[in-house]
Subunit: 434 residues, 2 copies
Amino acid sequence: MKYPLTPRLQLIQHLAERKAGLGKVVLLVMDGLGGMASGPGGKTELESAAAPNLARLAKSGSLGVHDPISPGFTPGSGLAHLALFGYDPLVYEIGRGVLALFGARCFEPNVMQAGEVAARVNFCTVEEKNGGLIVTDRRAGRIKDGPAAGLVELLNEQVKVAGVSFRFFQSKEHRAVLHLSGAGWSGLMGDTDPQATGVAPLAPAPLPEAANDPAAKRTAAVVAEIIAQARAALKDKHPANFILTRGFDTFKALPHFPEITGMRAACVAAYPDYRGVARLLGMDVVAADEELAGGGKPVRAEVSIESEFAAVERVWNDYDFFFIHIKKTDSYGEDGNFDAKVKVIENVDAQLPRLEKLGPAILCVTGDHSTPAAMKRHSFHPVPVLFAGKLVIPDEQTSFGERAAARGGHGRVNGADLLPLMMGYGDRLAKHGA
Amino acid sequence: MKYPLTPRLQLIQHLAERKAGLGKVVLLVMDGLGGMASGPGGKTELESAAAPNLARLAKSGSLGVHDPISPGFTPGSGLAHLALFGYDPLVYEIGRGVLALFGARCFEPNVMQAGEVAARVNFCTVEEKNGGLIVTDRRAGRIKDGPAAGLVELLNEQVKVAGVSFRFFQSKEHRAVLHLSGAGWSGLMGDTDPQATGVAPLAPAPLPEAANDPAAKRTAAVVAEIIAQARAALKDKHPANFILTRGFDTFKALPHFPEITGMRAACVAAYPDYRGVARLLGMDVVAADEELAGGGKPVRAEVSIESEFAAVERVWNDYDFFFIHIKKTDSYGEDGNFDAKVKVIENVDAQLPRLEKLGPAILCVTGDHSTPAAMKRHSFHPVPVLFAGKLVIPDEQTSFGERAAARGGHGRVNGADLLPLMMGYGDRLAKHGA
């Protein structure tokens, strides 16, 4: 169970230069960067930001826009990141459970074997009513990382099913992951999360198309037992007294980015899902200072934008490709908080000279998709992209924004074109053909 | 052994108008046209050229850029020309030996049969050392066409292997081609050219994957005998006393351009490789005045830019599609000679009124790829393209250059889109579908 390479990735693998001393490639992703004006005649978030460094790079560099899937389609973040890394998002898929597990275990080797199953877990609150359970808060008040870690530990101590190997891992806040390891599982399982409060959790059950599949029936039975024991373990605990599961998913290995591109690849991200995508593709996740504060193995901690750039500086000599992910542009976009999204862009802008000082051959600044604060969700709008580097032919644009990008020298490309473009600018792809 | 048509070419074949009296299509290719500024804030080669005719056509026409393969990838010239003619360069391939043979025999019918093998030959110099041979000059001082023709004739007279049919053909300067005709050959052969001086030539041998293939073993044995006899024939000759072989290649027929497009197609080019691509696709190669000077069958001669345009005028009534190829833009780009590349563009510009006077329905001016003098090699930068003709909707651009093209009315397209665009502008593609 492994994906073959698309022709684009085959060609990259065939042409990728693998000698030492090549230039470094930096991909800086501000999640959900693309935006909209909050009213007619207004500016977008990116156009509103006081971002002198981005403006300077726009002057010396070249802009464009990209469509993560293709024009008109709105991507999820995992899929959009696949595109940014050159993986056609209509060919390669990542399920939510597997993504969450790779994110939760991002500092561990050998996270998962092909055929194993992972599912997202929400700590939640329920109350008994008419002899059954009713969900009262699907996120248990967005429980913090600290108490959530205690609950994960409790479940791993107390929930046991004879002859079956599984384990819970902490993700972020109220989110955890369930890893069903070994053989005989199926990811063709429905959610138990009813996606609403005031109703009962759903019973674990195979998806309709797998109703008669023995592996799916076994998985449903084991998950039902796990949930029942989790209820018993958590019954009298605060702030969560139950778990909901969703996004069951069988692991299918993706071709690894470093093997395809010849680039040792580092991921610097604060959020588990983005670390998960990177790990799935064989990149190393670099821990931030906050996570290394204890001196031992990395521990989960809140990571600042400044720390992300410090982490890049720390490992600069060890890698060829740097994926830097900034989450809050998307979070504030989804909250509809235009001004806070602008502020995050400004904070990132202030860090850019640190990157420039490191001297990448090519710096590519973009988003994985658009999240206009005016829409409070991901959108289909093409995403602005900025290229700065020695081999870039400057265009006439003088600031970085949606409209300047649409008139930029790169025109409109697909998200999956960005990787070969970055490698071209990094002088890392040999000539193809006679 | 014949390639099938891609869906794009199938559609073109299905829709191509084949009635008489349709407008003529001219594709003028300046090899390696795209460039870069030689320093920050500077202009590219094309932007620097004093090219009043291109500027006038840019004003009345419409610009754009194309990616020969797709964004980020750097193509070789043969492959890039396939794209210009509408052939997806990831589907169709041309090997160096076959390309060279079609170029060398460009005025002959029936150059090669499917399954036959061709290889490039370099006349070189060697000296004996410790009982073996050492290559001293891989190009025999870039021997001229005249003396090289004599050496080719000598080899064809003196080198014979019983029961085997082969022949040498002159290409350009120190380059020749070996054609192994008939059946039982394999192109899966390593080079004997060591790509260095001061070392011994390599022995003819099958590629590792064909080590046990009887046809490859036979080919290696025959080539070894040919090389030994060539050494004997050339031993006391100047300026070359040996041959090196490379780019062995089995012929696989490509679908023919005139059959697909309904256009009688003429190639006007000064260099064998570009004539070779055209002949492989079933175009006719038009000899230049210099080559026809003797009155009999065309002889190889230096062809000027002016002569290329004169050749177009001479055969204007006999063809529907004209591929005009200018080589020196690329040569000077590879030499890093910015000013000389500019001068070639200016020379071509001066000839344009001759083309316009002929009254093509559509004139498309572009390159097969970029060769910035600043990089001294092919690059991945998208290639500027100019369309001028009655059905072109003019854009706002007023000169032809990389940046103007990036803002042009055609946006960024793939190289293989240019053929249907030219046919569209030439009113040569019927409506598709109800």
